[in-house]
């Protein structure tokens, strides 16, 4: 049986594919047109996009206020840094391990507090993020190197023939990861899990009444979000070759929070826009020197005044009507 495509939707889908193809083309060509400095800026844009995507699962999809996300990021980065410098485990092997470590950490620390509501969850996650940072500063078991951090982290490599050690290669590494993540997350958004998450965000009581185990779904969101933040931490650590606690301050958590809200809760294109704003804005306004953060702060206020729902909010009813008709033999009602 062949489904007859509906004209309007068919056109929409192809224009969307066109946009994605265009964006991909720009990303592929861009690094060959600019200097290393701008490639590095685009790299950090990628890191912030990944962090934004990871927080977006928790904050955007499920609506859980998490102001300690930098803690998970730190766990990923320090797992990479310590295991690499002490045991010489290759960075790319540590990529899934960092994700796992951050996820495990999230599971352990979030389990007892997942029942907290709204701002109380916010302060607890904030406290956890701070505990992680303070613990790193205090150098437990002589592992984290105290305020100076850990030095001498390797480049990621796949044998001797592929070593990622230039800005260009890092750029492609991070954006490859971001691309794969986006692919996975878009699939997740329309899945049973994604819909359950959104249900919990909109009305937790009703979701529970409909048989959604909100506790496990919330934990799942934290675990997945932490795992992605751990991946970001891994790439960040190997790019910088050193990690120190000040990279994972409360301020970083706030930036991630802003990325999600500036873009629009639960919206993947929104996260990219939010990350672009956070990472590119201070660079663009560098000529303004000491005034640039003043402008940055004002811009944040202005954006919320004019686009309180975010720059690119997620459209309601994201589950497409025609996919529900699939297999019913009807094309349109």
């Amino acid at each position: 049986m062949e489904r007859t495509p509906i004209n309007g939707i068919g056109r929409l889908a192809s224009s969307r594919q066109l946009h994605i193809a265009l964006a991909t083309a720009v990303f592929l060509i861009y690094p060959f047109l600019v200097s290393d400095y701008f490639i590095d800026i685009a790299f950090y844009f990628g890191i912030y996009t990944l962090l934004g995507l990871s927080l977006n699962i928790v904050l955007g999809e499920v609506g859980l206020f998490d102001l300690g996300h930098a803690g998970f990021y730190a766990i990923g980065a320090y797992t990479t840094a310590i295991l690499n410098t002490k045991f010489g485990i290759p960075i790319l092997v540590l990529l899934p391990l960092s994700a796992l470590a951050a996820a495990l950490f999230a599971y352990v620390v979030c389990s007892p507090v997942i029942h907290l509501q709204g701002d109380y969850l916010l302060i607890v996650t904030l406290g956890m993020g701070e505990i992680v940072r303070l613990a790193l500063i205090n150098n437990p078991f002589d592992l984290t190197g105290g305020p100076n951090g850990v030095f001498g982290i390797d480049f990621p490599s796949l044998g001797p023939w592929l070593v990622i050690d230039s800005s260009l290669e890092y750029y492609f590494l991070i954006w490859l990861i971001v691309g794969l993540t986006i692919l996975g997350l878009t699939r997740l958004q329309d899945s049973r899990i994604g819909r359950a998450w959104n249900y919990i965000r909109e009305d937790e009581t009703a979701a529970n009444a409909n048989g959604i185990d909100s506790r496990s779904y919330k934990l799942l969101a934290f675990v997945l979000g932490a795992a992605l933040a751990g991946v970001a931490g891994n790439v960040y650590a190997s790019k910088l070759m050193c990690v120190s606690p000040e990279s994972f301050s409360f301020w970083e958590s706030c930036l991630m929070f802003c990325i999600v809200l500036i873009g629009g809760m639960g919206s993947i294109p929104g996260v990219i826009i939010g990350a672009a704003f956070i990472s590119l804005f201070p660079e663009i306004f560098r000529p303004f020197a000491m005034y640039r953060m003043l402008i940055f702060g004002s811009a944040m206020m202005l954006m919320m005044m004019f686009r309180p729902g975010g720059v690119w909010p997620r459209k309601r009813g994201a589950v497409k009507y025609e996919s529900l008709l699939e297999g019913t033999g009807r094309s349109d009602a």
Binding site: D119, M128, I131, L134, N138, F250, M290, G297, M300, M301
Partner: protein, 303 residues
């Protein structure tokens, strides 16, 4: 024994700083359900304004009103200025985003915080500033075994007078009842004829003013201020207000004092480096077992 008593008094001193700042968070949160991230920077700005008055106007003021008069002038000037700044920030940064819900206001508040922090940096420079010494005569007092300074006594007295006054206003007067009613249920309160705008104005003038006064006290106590210090104190004070039960005014005072004492005891008996970890662990434990804080009431809130 006297060590523990001294640590408790030190704890009460910094606890009263946290409590006074926490009041600003808690009042605004109670009325608007908004976490005012800019509040820590109100505190910093107050500290810098007080510093300016004390450094540049001290000679003139001391000649006319004496040392205490100069200090009073700094407190009043910083308090009044910050009340005005608070009103402006409310009008510019928060009021336009109220209708959009709570989360956009968080970004707006963070934006206001960045703005204020960098405005202070532009105005006074990025370096630490040293508060003038011996504003209050450096008198040491021995009470039995306990060693105190006059500065500590002044700080404790001033904080407790301010907290007591606020407690009286909120718990005993008609306007205080209006504030509590608004915090409890804004919509119903406005249906009962309470002027919500007046309440909002009140919390946005008094909160920053209290923050400013605290800023000056912190400057005198530690003798050193920086444009980023609001972030740290804000975090602690916000923690304190949640510990006490956010939105609850006596809770904010209690939370601040408890936090200060815990911090000092943690520093003395566990480890100075781990004291903040200790504080946050206590906070998390309290919230696990009392999810709405020490004095917070259990409400069926839909978030």
């Amino acid at each position: 024994m006297h060590v523990i008593l001294e640590q408790i008094i030190n704890g009460l001193t910094i606890g009263s700083f946290y409590a006074l700042i926490a009041l600003g968070y808690s009042m605004v949160y109670g009325v608007l359900k908004l976490i005012n991230f800019a509040h820590g920077d109100f505190f910093t700005l107050g500290s810098y304004l007080g510093y300016t008055v004390l450094v540049f106007g001290a000679a003139l003021l001391t000649a006319h009103f004496g040392l205490w008069g100069a200090l009073m002038a700094a407190l009043v000037f910083a308090g009044v200025s910050l009340a005005i700044v608070g009103l402006i920030v409310e009008r510019v940064a928060y009021r336009p985003v109220y209708p959009a819900g709570r989360l956009p206001a968080v970004v707006s508040a963070l934006g206001a915080s960045i703005f204020l922090q960098n405005a202070i940096m532009v105005g006074w420079g990025p370096r630490f500033q040293a508060y003038p010494a011996a504003l209050i005569p450096n008198v040491h007092i021995q009470l039995g075994n306990i060693h105190l300074t006059l500065l500590q006594i002044v700080i404790l007295l001033l904080s407790f007078v301010l907290m007591g006054t606020l407690y009286y206003i909120v718990q005993k007067t008609t306007f205080g009842a209006a504030i509590r009613a608004t915090a409890h249920d804004r919509k119903t309160a406005s249906l009962m004829g309470i002027n919500i705008n007046k309440v909002i104005l009140f919390v946005f003038t008094l909160g920053p003013a209290l923050g400013a006064v605290t800023g000056i006290m912190v400057g005198m106590y530690y003798r050193q201020i920086s444009f980023t210090m609001g972030w740290n104190y804000g975090l602690k004070a916000f923690t304190a207000s949640v510990l006490g039960g956010i939105g609850n005014i006596p809770g904010a005072m209690l939370g601040g004092l408890i936090l200060g004492v815990l911090e000092m005891l943690g520093a003395a008996y566990i480890s100075a480096a781990w004291k903040d970890v200790f504080v946050f662990i206590i906070l998390i434990l309290v919230l696990i077992f009392r999810p709405t804080g020490i004095l917070g009431e259990k409400t069926a809130e839909k978030v």
